[in-house]
Symmetry: C2
Subunit: 236 residues, 2 copies
């Protein structure tokens, strides 16, 4: 059984390697981290405890069909940290059987053998501003196990210290496609147009810092597209 | 000799398959099309005729180094239509020698043997709102010649008719990665924050049209990131 908090879509993937891709989302409950700026804290802080549904892979698939009908062929699994859940492997097998592609994001604190069946795996180690520590050996282990797959590293950037951290990760794993993402430090901003302007300026700041830096060459710098469109709204 | 209008960067690639990638830009002069909403009309309408420099590949490379130093390993060639220029082949050979990756965008009206040496080739056939006609046989020929390479199709969308056209192209070439891009219909808007809000709404419209459509499954829907950051400014 997989503890699920949200199933929605189809919508666009707002981040990372398959940014813009039409996808459904399955959000699992539970995380081993407590990032200071977590935008999905309801997955682990107890506030949405009543909403968690323990579901079988078949139930998840049926709920995806109810929401997305025949309009999708791609599902993104996010959390929380879905890498806590051994049961995801069975869900991936069902997706494979149904011809559905999968993407999954995890911070890289845990490894699961089913990582090998993810079509687009994003490992997003958390920078110092999160308040969390990175287990670089575990990261290295995961990247080694998934070599040859479509796997990328993504670091969210809030400040200069995060950028220095991102550089150290990029230098440690120079062959892994590397994404820098603008951190959203205005999670409570309700005025979408103010948020949009603010995030556009933050994105420009990040670009300005990365472009002149010879130690960031083979990198991609991206905002979160969904916040540009829907602000801080959830489930879109 | 290659007729060049702009060399600038490093900056982020704002569109398509390598969106967000740190890259330099080389913009060539001349186009066989005259799209109604062309955002680079100065490459073909005579208004920048004085600025065209006929350059050798070595001169282009030196100018790239002057602008970008040792901060880049990727160059995007755009136009105009660079596929008019046989001489690009020699430039690509020089890039290969220097360890520089290349991306190139063309509308698909002309084929060049050097297409095979582009690391990321984007073919962007123009929809009805452009006022141009698509040579689907040529498109088919190009996609066949470049099979196995990293090549994608991208269609800019301004209205419903463009969306129907995009669908017909996607259905004709279902195996080619397919991008839908929000058209910028406010090329004269100087107020960046108004433009930003406008384009975010256009992006939302495009998402709303594509998401429920079972005939668009394996697609990516993207805005032009650079207009989100720099509005209608050129050379950034
Ligand atoms: S790892 Fe992700 S879900 Fe967990 S606390 Fe950090 S941001 Fe939130
Ligand atoms: S093909 Fe491109 S450069 Fe040529 S007119 Fe159309 S938009 Fe402008």
């Amino acid at each position: 059984m997989i503890p699920v908090l949200e199933i929605f879509g189809p919508t666009v993937q707002g981040e990372g390697a398959v940014i813009g891709r039409k996808t459904m989302f399955v959000r699992t409950a539970g995380c081993d981290y407590r990032c200071s700026w977590c935008d999905s804290a309801f997955t682990w802080d107890g506030s949405a405890k009543e909403d968690i549904r323990k579901m079988t892979p078949e139930e998840i698939y049926q709920t995806l069909l109810e929401a997305g009908g025949d309009t999708f062929d791609h599902v993104t699994i996010s959390g929380g940290n879905p890498a806590l859940l051994a049961g995801i492997g069975e869900l991936l097998a069902l997706f494979k059987e149904k011809g559905i592609e999968s993407a999954l994001e995890t911070q890289g604190s845990k490894y699961q053998p089913w990582f090998k069946f993810i079509d687009e795996l994003t490992i997003s180690p958390k920078p110092p501003s999160s308040g969390m520590d990175t287990d670089v050996d575990k990261l290295s282990f995961i990247l080694n196990e998934t070599k040859g797959q479509s796997v990328s590293l993504k670091v969210v950037i809030f400040n200069e210290e995060d950028l220095a951290y991102a550089k150290s990760i990029h230098q440690r794993f120079p062959d892994v496609p590397f994404y820098l993402q603008v951190g959203n430090d205005e999670l409570d901003e309700k005025d979408d147009s103010r948020l949009l302007g603010h995030l556009a300026r933050k994105y420009e700041w990040l670009i300005d810092r990365v472009m002149p830096d010879p130690e960031f060459k083979r990198v991609r710098v991206l905002p979160q597209l969904h916040t540009f469109v829907w602000g801080n709204k959830k489930g879109v």
